[in-house]
């Protein structure tokens, strides 16, 4: 048995930080909106953008999202820093799209570039960014604890359909509560994996990878189930599943009314324009 000399890795190994779903501290117009208003507005924008991903729609929605980001004073630092591979792939995709033969094609030096193909790729990219960022604004400007009560109120009509809405809202509240804990545990699991030495066995590398994945997945699930056990104990200690109340959640302010009306009007107008 010899001491393993680990491959010399660059010291710049950074722990990825989850920058979504974290409240950017502040007390802006957007922060003070009721969580339900923001969720409705985002849902409307998402549906509109998906229905009519034209330049007009995407431009208007991007402007609304940008306005919300500025009004909510979300700093640039809050945006996630994605791995370099992600951007590389993105650039490669754009390049590949521009290589198309769809006219009009312009020549940049020896390279033929299809402008219409590039436009299509950029519209798709813009659609993706809008879909992700519009939801992220809610996460950045809303305390997590406010999401479940707001949804509980919004879901009132569905209770009449005898759907187990309360069960789902409790599940959502717990999912929001448990996600950071689980991410933490997965991080520890990954750290433990990095501390391990190369096994001495004579498995083929592929086989070893399968065993390792199986070990990690099993451990993650077993540890999580133990956590579920504790969670259930904690719920039973408080009388069972219960329900998330929405009694104190009264949204009726002029801000919410104006935002709701404004976004709804714009979304409706965009859809009508597209249908005409």
């Amino acid at each position: 048995m010899n001491v393993r000399t680990a491959p010399t890795r660059d010291r710049a190994r950074r722990e990825p930080e989850l920058t979504f779903l974290r409240l950017v501290p502040g007390d802006s117009f957007v922060h003070r909106l009721w969580a339900g208003t923001k969720l409705i507005a985002v849902a409307e924008l998402v549906v509109t953008a998906t229905f009519a991903p034209t330049w007009l729609t995407l431009g208007v929605i991007a402007a609304i999202v940008a306005l919300a980001l500025v009004a909510g004073r979300v700093p640039l630092g809050a945006f996630p820093r994605l791995p370099a591979a992600f951007y590389g792939l993105l650039g490669f995709g754009l390049l590949l799209s521009a290589w198309a033969t769809t006219p009009p094609v312009v020549h940049v030096g020896p390279l033929p570039i299809s402008l219409s193909a590039l436009a299509v790729a950029i519209r798709l990219l813009a659609l993706g960014i809008v879909l992700v960022l519009s939801a992220a604004v809610v996460g950045w400007t809303t305390p997590l604890g406010a999401v479940a009560p707001a949804l509980s109120r919004l879901a009132r009509p569905f209770r009449a359909l005898r759907l187990p809405v309360d069960e789902w809202i409790v599940a959502l509240a717990l999912a929001l509560r448990c996600l950071p804990l689980l991410i933490d545990e997965m991080r520890t699991l990954n750290a433990a994996r990095r501390l391990r030495h190369k096994p001495a066995g004579d498995h083929r590398p592929g086989q070893r990878a399968v065993i390792e994945v199986h070990d990690l997945v099993s451990t993650a699930i077993i540890v999580s189930l133990r956590r579920a056990h504790d969670l259930a104990d904690a719920m039973n200690a408080r009388g069972g599943v219960g329900a998330i109340g929405d009694a104190q959640d009264t949204p009726r302010t002029w801000r919410d009314a104006a935002t709701f009306l404004g976004v709804t009007t714009i979304a409706a107008a965009l859809i009508v324009v597209n249908l005409l």
Binding site: L21, L96, T101, A175, C178, L195, S218, I222, S224
Partner: protein, 685 residues
């Protein structure tokens, strides 16, 4: 690998009807969250890894589907989708819903013992038509979106065609052209066909991973049977937990081979503080559960009504691990969690009562262990319980927090006329009690068992400084999430030199930066300022050479059995693994084949220690090595560590929030506060 025997799963998942119970809901939420974590990672990583992560993301849902009703899977999928929407928008919702749907198929197949062909048949019969219909309907309704996507595909192919033509393969280019044009024209056929490929591949791959995983999960929980929901006798009796009288009570866990409680006779009156003292495994937590309303296997429990766990005027319980019983994101939410909306609670008054004034709007994740336990008491008080059971609530809390908590428990009896049953392994804590009940081996005994004989510790001369430097930290500082609004400084200007053979205690409160220091010392984290070196080499390029045991050691034991784990983690031969196991005080013959999931917390830490030893680690960092251990487990672990020092000359770095480490493990103490070293000198315990 392909083993298709039916997997024995949870307690009759399909037989239950009606609303989800706490245990089912908890399992659904946690497993769906796990799927979400994998899906998020999959969205952020490049294609080959992301596809693998998608398959992995199906597995928790498959386990959920195999162990539980469809209703639980549905609730979990909805909760994780909504959570995911706030993280990464619509794309993640699609991923989570797909995982949920595949998980339903894979789970059902695993439960019924289907092999790959039948699992695929199941998926193609039930899942694929629905998915295909939904996809076609979506693209039909969202026509502009469809045109955009198809145009993009056309463009990509036309570029590829040009390349083929340049390569003088015009015939191939023509074929590609025809195929693409056909696919785009008949998109309503192409989309279902693509989905068919995804469904079949996903089912095959996820089944391969889910089956064996499920088998390991079932084996892990066969021992304690994971009885999530105690069958509360819901006989409609009035709630009256006190006085309670137990006579000849026996309790045996389902599937266990021995009784956890034997012939226990005991009375709890109104308005008294009773301490239940015993070692780990003496049955004291089981006794707490019987007092909280779980029906015994034999014997009689007499109350004037029902225990009413969690009900107003009933029984409340505070558990051992503080961070696990918090259900609310904010302190205010947690106090009121689960109360019917009709009940109004004066949250501020309750928080004031437990000494957490002005905590109402803080996030629960910012509270220390002791504060969380007092929060749990506040949540209990919101229901005006007559009986409060503290199930080792002090075990994971530091000395100051412990004293505050005990004082609070005492005052509940003195001032609020409640009864409190305090379960503990700290015999000294029985001083606050009116009455002490000692348990040993599931029986009530007259006197607590004698403490285990003190370990014969050879004289270990404290090392004098100025030896052989092993770990050197120069002006190390660390900021988490630097450059974001959540930047948090954990360490500032730490200069440290740890010599070979030293035994160092790093002590500090929650948030003092001690865990960050531990991660840096073990090479897991590159400090954002300064440099950390192991014998002159950057520590991050030597990850694995400094061993580490985590507080939650179960997370680092990945193989199914102990012997296997030590060999795999250390890359060691079985001979070295055996020697390491005996060095940490185990009998390798009985211990080596033991299942990892049968280990107690203390044993798990010793197995991790054995792995670090077998790997010939230069130093070992131990994160909270003694947290939650009873006296016997403490002394066994101490003996193992002392032996490592004496026989192997190993450098030990213990990180703890407590000073009560045996002096023999502390040559030197380093105190951290707010990320700075505030004391560095001889041990002060």
């Amino acid at each position: 690998m392909v083993d298709t025997r039916p997997v024995r799963v949870g307690p009759g998942p399909t037989t239950r009807r009606g609303p989800l119970r706490a245990g089912e809901l908890a399992e659904a939420v946690v497993l769906a969250d796990l799927t979400l974590v994998a899906a998020i990672a999959g969205q952020l990583l490049p294609p080959p890894v992301s596809s693998a992560l998608f398959v992995i993301a199906v597995v928790p849902m498959g386990v959920l589907g195999a162990r539980n009703r469809f209703r639980a899977l549905l609730a979990g999928t909805i909760a994780a989708s909504a959570t995911g929407f706030l993280v990464l928008g619509v794309p993640i919702v699609t991923a989570v819903v797909s995982c949920g749907a595949l998980g339903a198929v894979v789970g059902t197949a695993a439960r019924r013992g289907y092999g790959a062909p039948r699992a695929v048949a199941l998926a193609v019969t039930f899942l694929w038509p629905v998915a295909a219909l939904i996809a076609d309907l979506f693209f039909w309704t969202f026509a502009e979106n469809r045109r955009l996507l198809l145009q993009q595909i056309h463009n990509l192919w036309s570029g590829a065609g040009r390349i083929l033509r340049n390569l003088h393969l015009p015939w191939l280019a023509d074929v590609v052209d025809h195929v693409t044009t056909w696919c785009i024209t008949y998109w309503w056929i192409t989309v279902p066909l693509l989905l068919l490929v995804v469904v079949v591949l996903g089912t095959v791959l996820a089944s391969r991973l889910t089956g064996p995983t499920l088998r390991r999960v079932s084996a892990a929980f066969a021992a304690d049977a994971l009885a999530l929901d105690p069958d509360q006798p819901d006989d409609g009796a009035a709630i009256a937990p006190l006085p309670v009288s137990l006579s000849s009570v026996v309790y045996r866990y389902p599937g266990a081979e021995a009784d956890a409680l034997r012939d226990v006779t005991l009375d709890i009156e109104r308005n008294e503080l009773v301490a239940v003292v015993g070692r780990n495994g003496s049955g004291k937590s089981t006794l707490a559960r019987v007092l909280a309303g779980r029906p015994p296997t034999a014997g009689v429990v007499r109350r004037s009504g029902s225990a009413g766990l969690g009900a107003p005027n009933g029984t409340a319980i505070v558990f051992q691990r503080p961070e696990l019983q918090v259900l609310g994101v904010r302190v205010r939410d947690d106090v009121g969690w689960g109360l019917p909306p009709s009940v109004s609670v004066d949250v501020d008054a309750l928080l004031d009562r437990v000494g957490l004034r002005a905590f109402a709007d803080r996030e629960t994740s910012t509270l220390s262990g002791g504060e969380l336990q007092r929060l749990a008491v506040a949540a209990a008080l919101a229901r005006h319980p007559q009986l409060l059971i503290s199930d080792e609530s002090t075990a994971m809390v530091d000395a100051i927090g412990r004293a505050q908590l005990l004082e609070l428990l005492r005052s509940l009896v003195t001032d609020d006329h409640m009864s409190v049953v305090h379960v503990t392994h700290h015999r000294s804590e029985s001083a606050v009690a009116d009455r002490v009940v000692s348990l040993d081996g599931g029986r009530v005994v007259d006197a607590p068992p004698a403490p285990p004989p003190a370990v014969a510790v050879g004289a270990v001369a404290p090392r004098s400084r100025g030896g052989d430097p092993l770990l050197v930290l120069r002006d190390v500082g660390h900021v988490y999430a630097r450059g974001t609004p959540w930047a948090r400084r954990a360490l500032t200007g730490v200069d440290l030199r740890i010599d070979r053979g030293e035994a160092v205690l790093v002590v500090g409160h929650n948030g003092s930066g001690k865990s960050t220091l531990a991660w840096i010392l073990s090479g897991l984290l590159a400090p954002s300022e300064g440099e950390a070196r192991l014998e002159g080499m950057p520590l991050t390029s030597a990850t694995g050479q400094v061993g580490m045991t985590f507080q939650h050691a179960r997370l680092q034991l990945l193989r199914p059995t102990v012997g296997n784990e030590v060999m795999a983690a250390a890359g060691a031969t079985s001979f070295d693994a055996w020697r390491a196991l005996s060095d940490v005080g185990f009998d390798p013959r009985t211990m080596s084949p033991r299942r990892i999931d049968e280990l107690s917390g203390g044993q798990a830490r010793r197995v991790a220690l054995a792995a670090a030893l077998a790997a010939r680690s230069r130093a070992i960092v131990l994160d909270e090595p003694f947290a939650g251990l009873d006296e016997e487990a403490r002394s066994t672990l101490t003996a193992a560590l002392v032996r490592m020092r004496v026989e192997h000359g190993l450098t030990l770095i213990c990180v703890s929030h407590d000073h009560d480490l045996p002096a023999v493990l502390v040559d030197r103490e380093i105190e951290l506060a707010d990320g700075r070293v505030t004391y560095d000198g001889p041990g002060r315990s």
